[in-house]
């Protein structure tokens, strides 16, 4: 006799309950109860919470919680094939880009690669101290034989950040232009930002093969794209109303206004968003090593799995070094933009 029997009797649902009754496999709780005999039944709460499991006891037609979980899984697996047909071709270029970048960075000898990286830093920052920091970091990483891994991590970040910016900036602009779009997009961004980073991997593992690079590529992009969208939206909304009014008064078209006024004035904010995006993709690229993303993360993972303390720590410090370098370079680039119109607003 279960607690909620009378409820279903009163509602006149007894026939429906019994008619659909089917014994599924026993749950662990039931198994334990059986082992302990009738004693367990007496221990049962006199007024249980009307959960799915409790209701199932009284009425066989009610699903159990674990059936719901299984149902969700089945639903996901059912739509998976259809989803794959759509998503696979769209995301395939991502795989190519990631593999291409990895191959490119790996095949360039270090004495070419390092000067190129240094040149790039110099072009965007024009800052001697940052250039020295970059040189020092890469020489150190090379000296302790971690250069290859670091460069792999770096190439993944390059690709993912570029794609995040290419997708994120237009989304941010569209959001700044439409309050409705902003209202619908913000909850999604909140979700992406609060979802624990491991959870990103779960549906992706089912959707894509672990051997494909796009798996971790998508995980990183989803995680890292949020700040650049948010700050682009914010930056454009913060552009001085007076200047926008002037642009209107001089008969600028929407496009002239966007390219000539709004984006340049929002650039400091957009750059701050890009800085955050770089940092977040670095954070994710380490976790993504669980799903075969190469780089320093693999070494950290090895440290955890095999309890190789030294390997894990050194790789971890390498990541910190990389993080510092990326942060300094992008911040120095941001400073340069700010300086060109300091006090302008």
């Amino acid at each position: 006799m279960a607690f909620y029997d009378s409820l279903f009797d009163h509602l006149g649902l007894r026939d429906w309950c019994d008619g659909a009754k089917q014994e599924g496999p026993m749950s662990m709780a039931e198994l334990l109860a059986k082992a302990k005999g009738n004693q367990a039944a007496e221990d049962a709460e006199s007024f249980p919470f009307p959960s799915l499991d409790a209701l199932h006891e009284a009425c066989g037609a009610m699903p159990r919680t674990r059936e719901m979980t299984v149902g969700l899984e089945r639903l996901f697996l059912d739509v998976k094939d259809g989803l794959k047909v759509v998503l696979d071709p769209i995301t395939q270029p991502l795989s190519w880009m990631l593999d291409g970048a990895l191959w490119l960075f790996a095949s360039v000898p270090w004495w070419v690669l390092l000067p190129i990286l240094l040149m790039m830093c110099w072009t965007v920052t024009r800052n001697v101290r940052v250039a020295l920091l970059v040189t020092f970091s890469f020489v150190l990483l090379g000296f302790i034989d971690h250069l290859d891994s670091a460069v792999q991590t770096l190439s993944i970040i390059f690709v993912c950040t570029t794609i995040s910016v290419v997708l994120g900036v237009p989304i941010g602009i569209a959001m700044s232009k439409s309050d409705r779009l902003q209202k619908t997009t913000l909850p999604i961004l909140d979700l992406l930002q609060t979802l624990p980073s491991f959870v990103y991997l779960i549906p992706l593992i089912f959707l894509f093969s672990v051997t494909e690079s796009k798996l971790y590529g998508i995980a990183i992009i989803l995680y890292a794209i949020v700040p650049v969208i948010r700050l682009t939206d914010l930056g454009i909304r913060l552009v001085d109303r007076d200047v926008i009014e002037a642009a209107d008064a001089f008969g600028m078209t929407g496009r002239q206004k966007l390219i000539g006024v709004e984006i340049p004035l929002a650039l400091p904010n957009i750059m701050a968003g890009i800085n955050q995006t770089i940092m977040m993709s670095l954070a994710m690229v380490v976790i993504a090593s669980l799903v075969s993303a190469p780089g320093l993360g693999v070494l950290v993972l090895r440290g955890i799995r095999n309890l190789e303390l030294g390997v894990g720590l050194v790789a971890g410090l390498g990541i910190v070094l990389l993080a510092v370098v990326l942060d300094r370079v992008s911040k120095a680039a941001l400073d340069r933009i700010d300086k060109s119109k300091a006090g302008g607003l």
């Binding site: 002037a246 209107d248 008064a249 008969g251 002239q256 004035l265 119109k341 302008g344």
Partner: protein
């Protein structure tokens, strides 16, 4: 207005029955506003804000029309209707006999590019562009080629006294210089109409006077149709050919400044103008006699000379008499005693009359 029909002939901008109501359902409120509901009542009973009520103004080509009012009087809203930065609730705005209200997006853009430009209170320069690029913005928007727009912008920058600053950025300039860029930017557009929204209000007094002089000087040469917004009566009196005084979204009085000064419409205007330096505003033509006094003529003066310059000329001697000239012809005579009487605001004259014959002359505050 008696001269309204005459003014219609060469009015470049005509505003007719313009209403603006802010709120969720402005059209429904129009009826109440037409029936004369007060601003406070409209806000308390219906939650709408009355922006402008039944504005009718004719602005003549080549003149400076000053719209003056205290903050919240709707003057900035009014000027933004001219290029439709603000959409009206009801009414007509005719620019060169073309109804601005009926323009589509493309037509409106053309109007803003070719017909009227604007100078802003807080300059609104593009901070990431150099002074030269800022001045050339209207030409850039129109799609003129680079060499042409550089020449044009350089010419106007030089004209407003900013030669040598072309490569600077706005934040490197002082407020007055930034507004000079704003004026050069507006002039470079080469439009007939120039809207100036409290253009000099953010500047300190000395710079403001400089800028007013610059504007007068440019205007004497360019003869643009200027709509100038200000809350400063001295500035309004100095610049205006036609003065429109706005209070709580309604026009209280509009006329030539000195006529407003001589015949204020009501107590509000009277209070308003009582502190003004009358000698600087009132011109000889307003106080001269058409007939001859028969007295000795001390010299010839222009009909547009201010009383201030007359006082200086006569050395303060009220016994002199001058012949008033207009385009080389004598149009009347000025008795310095009339001039002194005209310096007394009617408020003061009345209260002085009450206290007997003790004359209190409050000229030149």
């Amino acid at each position: 207005m008696t001269e309204k029909s005459a003014a219609n002939l060469n009015s470049q901008i005509r505003i007719q029955g313009l209403h603006k109501i802010f709120g969720p359902q402005p059209e429904l409120m129009l009826e109440h506003v037409r029936n004369g509901i007060g601003k406070q009542e409209l806000l308390a009973d219906y939650g709408h804000v009355l922006g402008l009520r039944d504005i009718n103004v004719n602005m003549r080509a080549g003149e400076i029309t000053v719209i003056m009012g205290l903050s919240g009087s709707g003057k900035s809203t009014l000027v933004r209707h001219l290029n439709r930065l603000v959409e009206p609730t009801d009414g007509e705005i005719l620019v060169d006999d073309e109804d601005v209200m009926k323009l589509d997006e493309e037509g409106l853009r053309e109007l803003r590019r070719r017909k009227m430009t604007m100078v802003f209170q807080r300059f609104a320069l593009l901070p990431h562009r150099s002074v030269l690029e800022n001045a050339a913005i209207s030409l850039e928007v129109r799609g003129q080629d680079v060499s042409q727009r550089v020449d044009e912008a350089q010419r106007w920058l030089a004209r407003v006294g900013l030669e040598g600053y072309e490569a600077s950025y706005p934040h490197q300039l002082s407020g007055g210089m930034q507004q000079r860029v704003g004026i050069a930017r507006a002039l470079a557009a080469n439009t007939d109409i120039m809207l100036m929204d409290e253009a000099f209000s953010a500047l300190d007094p000395l710079i403001r006077t400089d800028m007013q002089d610059l504007l007068m000087e440019l205007q004497s040469e360019l003869h643009k149709t200027i709509v100038f917004i200000t809350h400063d009566l001295d500035e309004a009196m100095k610049l205006a050919d036609h003065l429109v005084i706005l209070n709580e979204g309604e026009i209280v009085q509009q006329d030539e400044p000195q006529r407003i000064l001589m015949n204020p419409a009501d107590g509000y205007i009277e209070d308003f103008v009582s502190d003004i330096n009358r000698a600087r505003v009132i011109r000889v033509r307003s106080v001269m006699r058409r007939d001859s006094t028969g007295r000795e003529i001390a010299g010839e003066v222009d009909h547009n000379d201010t009383l201030e310059s007359m006082i200086a000329l006569s050395g303060g001697d009220t016994n002199h008499n001058y012949r008033v000239m207009r385009d080389g012809n004598a149009v009347g005579e000025l008795d310095m005693r009339d001039l002194v009487k005209a310096l007394t605001p009617s408020v003061v004259a009345r209260s002085a009359g009450g206290r007997g014959q003790s004359h209190t002359i409050r000229a030149g505050s």
